[in-house]
């Protein structure tokens, strides 16, 4: 079982071998294509993060044993979906305290910071916040 930090390190090393943005986008798009489809019943307004450019759905639940956060998601745009898939791959199956104790500075190292700092325009920054907020709510 890999830890959250291990998965982050794996992602950093996978992306750091890619020299240009073109290759990073290709990898992200592949991530998105490999993301298990989100059940239609989970694509509710409550799970929708609206951006003015693209939108993201995020569904977070806690495992029956109450120790792991399980994430599912989708997006209408391929690059956004790829980043959502990457975040899900990294964060899903982590414990709430693991999520809260891990820095998010890996985003810069992966080279997708601009997609996550564009405020509300693509919904990704809000997605990351939601994951952390959900972890916080389950830790209380």
């Amino acid at each position: 079982m890999t830890t959250l930090q291990n998965r982050i390190n794996d992602a950093i090393s996978e992306f750091s071998t890619l020299e240009n943005i073109e290759d990073r986008y290709r990898l992200l798009i592949t991530y998105g294509k490999n993301l298990p489809p989100m059940e239609v019943s989970l694509k509710t307004d409550d799970n929708l993060i609206r951006g003015c450019q693209s939108q993201v759905w995020l569904h977070a639940t806690i495992s029956p044993s109450q120790d792991k956060i399980i994430l599912a998601g989708d997006s209408d745009a391929a690059i956004t979906k790829g980043i959502a898939a990457l975040l899900i791959k990294i964060y899903s199956e982590s414990s709430p305290s693991e999520i809260l104790n891990t820095k998010t500075d890996f985003i810069d190292k992966i080279g997708i910071k601009e997609h996550l700092s564009q405020n509300r325009s693509n919904g990704l920054a809000a997605m990351l916040k939601q994951i952390i907020f959900f972890a916080y709510s389950k830790k209380l």
Binding site: Y25, C52, Q53, S54, D76, A77, I79, T80, S121
Partner: protein, 403 residues
């Protein structure tokens, strides 16, 4: 000036973006700035910093003169009858909010109606919705036809004895539709109704003569015509301005201040409370001089040719759909690419050093009417060339291979 030499005036175009030559096709969002504007800003902030309309020292006087000279230039630029009809604001949005607040307070009452159109940018919708939350007014919208043109027969039907104002865009920021504002203005006047024109998207492409148009208000931004951010213009007929209450209170807009009440300064200062964007207004003069040096008619012609070329180049791309087909279009071409989200389209073009706009374009009502949620828009001006459009077309073709 040839276009090749015009590019030289814009330092931003002489840089690499993501290691690629920079192709800027987002001038409808904001135009790049020529060197003369940048130098004027630097001059003000380096040497000429001073507040204006007060103080007797050298730089205060120099600043006041330069600031007021810009007002003369703007008045001349749109052929206003009086320099007092030019009010400096923060931008088009601020200009429209000023009218919604002041004209709204004085002349629009419970039960009254105003007319907007489906083509409006949020900045010409929300100020009126805010007004309607203070007063019980009805907002009516002129519908558009399948080409993206206003339906004029419907426009005429919207007027009632309760109609107090029409506020409408000159050029659509999404479809590029050039509205027949002369007809819209003259019909509104036959009904005794004043009319505001949102000139944000027209000011850089179309020669404006407010006296010939006979509009009551005309709003635009400096940053969309090669000038700095934070400066807008509200043109308003003097006779109406004299009737309006102040917008914001503060320094510069007052005459005598008492404990309970005060008297206000003359127009236009009555509407310019507080310290304005002095350096930006002074540098705005250079933007106007730049446009004048090229010639507005030449700019219009050049933009029209570039627009035609864009449509010719983009139309044959498989799966590409140009949005709208208005009778007259200016400055922008919006499009969708089959099975490609515009966010991906924008990101993959950006990867190639090409900047366009994607999203809902701050016009959610129009997007709803077009049954679209997100589209891509290329917009251009005098520093763009056919080769920029060629790069865009090649870039779009690459998007399809990429996904």
């Amino acid at each position: 000036m040839s276009t090749t030499s015009i590019k030289e005036y814009f330092p931003a175009l002489n840089q690499k973006i993501r290691g690629k030559d920079f192709t800027y096709l987002d001038s409808a969002a904001t135009t790049l700035k020529p060197r003369s504007v940048i130098e004027a800003l630097t001059q003000y902030y380096t040497y000429d910093t001073a507040n204006i309309h007060r103080g007797a020292h050298f730089l205060a006087n120099k600043g006041t003169t330069a600031f007021e000279d810009t007002r003369d230039l703007v008045a001349n630029f749109i052929n206003a009858a009086h320099r007092e009809e030019i009010i400096f604001t923060k931008g088009t949005t601020d200009s429209i909010n000023l009218i919604a607040a002041t004209f709204g307070e004085r002349f629009i009452n419970d039960g009254d109606e105003i007319i907007l159109s489906t083509l409006e940018h949020h900045s010409n919708i929300i100020p009126w919705q805010l007004l309607s939350s203070r007063k019980k007014i009805t907002i009516k919208y002129i519908p558009i036809d399948g080409n993206g043109d206003l339906i004029l027969s419907e426009y005429r039907k919207l007027f009632t004895s309760k109609t107090k104002l029409v506020s409408i865009t000159h050029v659509s920021n999404v479809l590029g539709t050039v509205n027949p504002i002369k007809e819209l203005i003259s019909f509104a006047h036959t009904q005794g109704v004043p009319i505001l024109i949102d000139g944000a998207q027209s000011i850089n492409h179309i020669l404006i003569d407010v006296q010939e148009l006979d509009c009551d208000f005309y709003a635009f931004s400096a940053h969309k015509m090669f000038g700095p951010n934070g400066v807008g213009v509200l043109y308003a007929k003097q006779t109406i301005l004299e009737e309006l209450p102040p917008y914001q209170g503060g320094g510069n807009m007052i005459d005598q201040v008492g404990e309970i009440s005060s008297t206000y300064n003359k127009i236009p200062h009555k509407f310019e409370a507080g310290t304005p964007a002095i350096g930006e207004v002074i540098a705005f003069a250079e933007a106007i001089k730049f446009i004048k040096a090229i010639g507005q008619k030449q700019i219009s012609k050049y933009d029209e040719d570039l627009l035609k070329y864009t449509i010719t180049k983009l139309s044959p791309i498989s799966g590409l759909k140009i949005i709208g087909n208005p009778a007259k279009r200016s400055g922008v071409v919006s499009f969708t690419l089959e099975n490609v989200h515009s966010y991906d389209l924008g990101s993959i073009l950006d990867m190639q050093g090409i900047a366009i706009r994607t999203g809902n374009h701050c016009a959610q009502q129009l997007m709803k009417c077009l049954n679209l949620t997100s589209i891509a828009r290329a917009s251009f001006t005098i520093y763009n060339t056919n080769s920029d459009i060629d790069r865009l077309a090649d870039g779009i073709r690459k998007v399809k291979d990429f996904l």
